[in-house]
């Protein structure tokens, strides 16, 4: 709209002598009077896409401003990326009483995976404006409104021409009555203000000065991207892929949705690490699954000790029968024996003398690992090959990938890879394992990762949990970062678990499973495994990362796990992150929160002190919309309680219970 032009020379008073020099050009066509602004939810000015899942409705809002007093209307429009027809729903002013300029409404519903577009439109309703003005004049006792009535008849004529059916006839008669200057004024007024006429006119209204905002995009993924229970195990400790197949039924029976396997590929021999991360392996040590590649193959091969590709296909098929899916680890690094080191040395970093450079984070050396050089000359063939690795597994039925340390690879690579794979298989889910600074974790989520590990394992005090969950449970983070609250990982045995005993495990399970729609357990948790390699370490002693353990699906916590997973599947309130409201508990050892969805309210109270009984007062505020007194049942043990608005006494003894999971009845 604005064009640069040269400055005019200065004249007598120091001001430009000729006012016609260098003027800004008029707009080409008459501009709209309507300004649509501050749209939500939009992420980074549209550079990245807001995320939702299939079945979600989206609350949208915008500021809409226009000069003058005419009646304005607005709507939100949305459509799947490849369609041309917009769906539409009305927007309404948020503060209608004060004619507030913030408008809101709902996109209802996003019913397919993929990229959706949405925008806000607004327009003037001349007939409604005219009707409003006439109404005020009549109320003020004014007469002689013949000119106004003539205007109204013209507006009705235009609308009538667009209408059909009964509405057309109604509008035609109204126009005639309004235009009839032989009729008494009162009759004409009544015809003009008739509510059914107003309703019909609204249905067929002319959208004056129709203005549309820019369109924004929403990335819609399948529901599993938001909600699921994950179980992680190392196949080599379970008897390889056949052994995992045999355990599937029990794992599915406990209510898990995703079975995540650390890398299942051949493991390098050179510089293999020994048990407990010793720099040198002893004969028989299996090495780290993350030292990927050997003479048997690389990222598209399966470790011979685990089985064959047919075993893998069978595992995937069996899992599908049980409504579970297999998630693989996508770890972009190579052992010294990976075929690519010899086939494609150009993909790796070299020393000046030409030798390959192993991974380092000085002064640490990872001599069993070689990293890709994403900036190498042959980066195109490298990126293609890495994508093909993922597509290989996609072809073998994998639709969930847990990505190892994405924060040490370029963001642009992930953005391209995720889009590429989704283009082939839109249902693919990507979990980012990046324990790093918040800005990078957020950036990875923005470029496309469906889910993210979080700081959850290190948030153990009640206030830490409350602050952290509050942050990720609301926009902007909740618009693009979906948390996965693993209670432990092969790299993270938190001090809290090391020192807390069974009580700690029980409460962490309850918190993870009720605070986040996606949560996970790394095998061993259900047996209260808690011995670190040495004091102060977060590494497990005799970690499965460096040796084979004997494992099977059993442990004292599994009853609780199974119960919790069943409850989560039954209760939609536990299937989203953004519906949490923390409640005062008047004891720092207690964390209390409500989760609401539809007409359902759950209240969780957890004792984060794993050793001592703690008591407190949970305060239920009025804004939860609950009645003054309400019955609730503890879904963990069936006990029933009567709670009330305001103060409710709670006592939790870790010897018998980690917390309450109360379902409000009939509310």
């Amino acid at each position: 709209m604005m064009e640069q032009a040269t400055r005019a020379p200065r004249g007598r008073t120091g001001i430009a002598a000729s006012k016609r020099t260098g003027q800004v050009a008029l707009p080409r066509k008459r501009p709209t009077r309507i300004l649509i602004d501050e749209l939500h939810p939009v992420l980074d000015c549209g550079r990245y896409r807001v995320k939702r899942c299939v079945g979600d409705s989206v609350a949208v809002s915008a500021t809409i401003v226009r000069d003058g007093h005419d009646v304005m209307r607005a709507a939100v429009q949305w459509r799947p990326g490849e369609q041309s027809r917009w769906r539409e729903a009305p927007l309404a002013r948020v503060d209608a009483a004060i004619d507030g300029d913030r408008w809101s409404g709902m996109i209802d519903t996003l019913d397919a995976v993929g990229r959706w577009r949405w925008r806000v439109i607004a327009w003037g309703d001349r007939f409604a404006s005219w009707r409003e003005e006439l109404s005020r004049k009549i109320d003020a006792g004014q007469h002689g409104l013949g000119s106004e009535l003539t205007e109204g008849a013209m507006l009705l004529e235009a609308i009538c021409a667009r209408a059909s059916g009964e509405d057309r006839e109604l509008l035609r008669r109204a126009r005639h009555a309004v235009a009839d200057d032989s009729a008494p004024e009162r009759t004409r007024y009544e015809a003009a203000l008739e509510p059914r006429v107003a309703a019909a006119a609204e249905r067929w209204q002319v959208r004056e000065d129709l203005t549309a905002s820019e369109a924004s995009e929403i990335e819609v993924e399948r529901e599993r991207a938001r909600f699921g229970a994950w179980y992680e195990l190392f196949p080599r400790s379970w008897g390889g892929l056949p052994g995992v197949r045999r355990a599937l039924g029990e794992i599915a029976g406990a209510g898990f949705d995703v079975l995540y396997l650390p890398p299942i590929h051949p493991i390098g021999v050179a510089n293999r690490k020994g048990r407990n991360d010793k720099p040198v392996a002893e004969p028989g040590d299996p090495g780290s699954p993350y030292a990927i590649g050997g003479i048997e193959g690389g990222h598209t091969a399966i470790h011979p000790d685990l089985g064959t590709l047919e075993d893998f296909d069978a595992l995937v098929a069996d899992a599908r029968e049980l409504d579970m899916e297999i998630a693989l680890d996508y770890a972009l690094q190579c052992s010294a024996d990976h075929p690519w080191l010899s086939e494609h040395p150009e993909w790796f970093s070299h020393r000046p003398d030409g030798t390959l450079k192993y991974a380092e984070n000085p002064p640490k050396r990872y001599m069993d690992i070689y990293n890709f050089d994403f900036e190498c000359e042959e980066w195109r063939s490298l990126w293609d090959a890495l994508r093909d690795v993922m597509l290989f597994w996609v072809e073998h039925g994998v639709r969930v990938f847990r990505v190892d340390n994405p924060h040490t690879k370029p963001l642009a690579f992930w953005e391209w890879l995720i889009a590429s794979v989704r283009e082939v298989e839109p249902d693919t889910i990507f979990l980012s394992e990046a324990f790093t600074r918040q800005a990078m974790m957020a950036a990875l989520a923005k470029v496309g990762f469906s889910q993210s590990y979080t700081y959850f394992t290190w948030k153990n005090a009640s206030w830490e949990l409350r602050d952290y969950v509050s942050e990720i449970a609301r926009p902007p983070l909740s618009d693009f970062l979906r948390p996965n609250f693993f209670v432990n990982t092969p790299d993270i045995l938190s001090e809290y678990l090391q020192t807390g005993g069974p009580g700690a495990f029980a409460v962490r399970l309850l918190l993870a499973g009720t605070l986040s729609p996606s949560y996970g357990i790394y095998s061993g948790f259900e047996r209260y495994e808690a011995t670190p390699r040495h004091p102060g370490s977060e590494e497990y002693l005799d970690s499965e990362k460096y040796e084979v353990r004997e494992r099977s699906f059993q442990g004292p916590l599994l009853d609780s796990v199974t119960r919790l997973n069943r409850i989560r599947r039954e209760r939609p309130a536990l299937q989203r992150i953004d519906n949490v409201a923390f409640l005062p508990a008047e004891n720092d050892a207690l964390l209390a929160y409500a989760k609401r969805e539809g007409g359902e309210t759950l209240i969780v109270v957890a004792n984060v002190d794993p050793h001592r009984a703690q008591e407190g007062i949970v305060v239920v505020p009025g804004e939860l919309g609950l009645p003054p007194v309400f019955a609730c049942s503890d879904l963990l043990d069936g006990a029933r309680y009567e709670w009330r608005l305001g103060r409710n006494y709670v006592r939790l003894d870790p010897a018998s219970r980690a917390g309450h999971l109360l379902a409000v009845e009939n509310a």
Copy 2:
């Protein structure tokens, strides 16, 4: 980066049979590893421009994210719109201790009016990264770092080739020493880590992976757009333009910078309003200056009772001699006698019978006013003509316009008009008089208005003032909306002034002049004029809008006004809005705040109760950076006090003082 493609057909496992079908194209060139995000200050994704004034520095910040551990550097670049050379200043991490990803720095300084562009750049410093890694390895006691040293020598060679002067020689020697494999390792390490070498390398570093954000714009206006004291008068009450000329010296002597005149054009006769807004004028009634236009001319003519165009030019020249400027009222409406109604009927709204439609806000009728129809067929000629009106006055030396009710005209018109006029005369200042909803007030500021009237006249309680000023004193509002705190206007005689007596006037003057860099007085305020037309009205009795009054520049409050204007000119802390910090005062009748600039701190304490003495405790917090005990002098009367961090007793009796304006000494 992403291209749409068709979905591949599904294969055996339900997944696309051919992974090579419909893939997302690789980026054309190797993408950067650096992501620059969340730039501040940017307004509405760059749709509108952030505002600053000449001489301002701008604090900028951005989130900069990159994979890996290499040393990254960043800078902000800026330039006036028409230049090609960027100026540059470094950015630093906000939380350097934790390697935080938020970077900040300063644009220093915006030294000319016009549109400036700025952006953030970031890059990798390979030498600094290499040096850091080498340093860690040496600290960890590692040996045999010959390969590392070879790499370092290569990096030094590349930098040396770019260097000149002493630096080049220094780098050359360092490269030689590092590369010398006949020298002891220790010697080579020392050469590599020598601080002067590091400094030289930084000066001539290669900017690897240089990445730039999008450029944002800043609209820089002259200082008067932010800071000034305004005085409003109706020329017809002062003896016309010659009379105003005679009063100029006194007005300038009181420290006013801008003299604002309501419309000076011919006034219509038909349907002229009478005194006190009577619908029908009596003979001799002058009518409202806002009913613009008569047989003598329209918006580019001067009312014959006021003088001639020569009188006006002389007024402007005299004002310039006194370092004052004349602000005119730009009121886009016509009386029934305006020449344009007959010359250009196509510019106005018509009834169906073809007659012109006077202004209405049903049921109110403004039969002396006709509004332009900005959507008429001939909108282009209308817009041109309206712009030419403003440029006419610009040619006659006017560079400040107070715009009447812009919220009833299209935003797009203002955006175009302001840009058009600024294109001819960049120093033009536009004040928006729009007492309407916040979204529209903000929109007007965004499309270009330099200043805005605000809700100040209705913010009288201490908490109202604190909340409102806090909102406009910080981003985003402070980035684009500059307030002008008129204490009264011809339309607004607040209840507070009506009932408060002289004490109310004194405290409102103090608040306006210290809270906002731009403030104004409508003549009569200095005489405590406080009689409304009738109880409950905000209109003045016998308002100058509808009759001629006898006025001259005198009144009991003028000493205070003069003193305050002098203090404001001497104290930079009072020349910005965004440097205010409200202090607790422990009495709702007291409002206390600090204003800081450079090393200077002012503390204002005002008693908003105009009738009763009030006492309280002003709490000075540590974060103001003041010493535990400090001397201050009250600029209003010279009295000196000793204040301290923490609690300070204050008592203010409206009979003697409205408040304190303390300047901290030697702090």
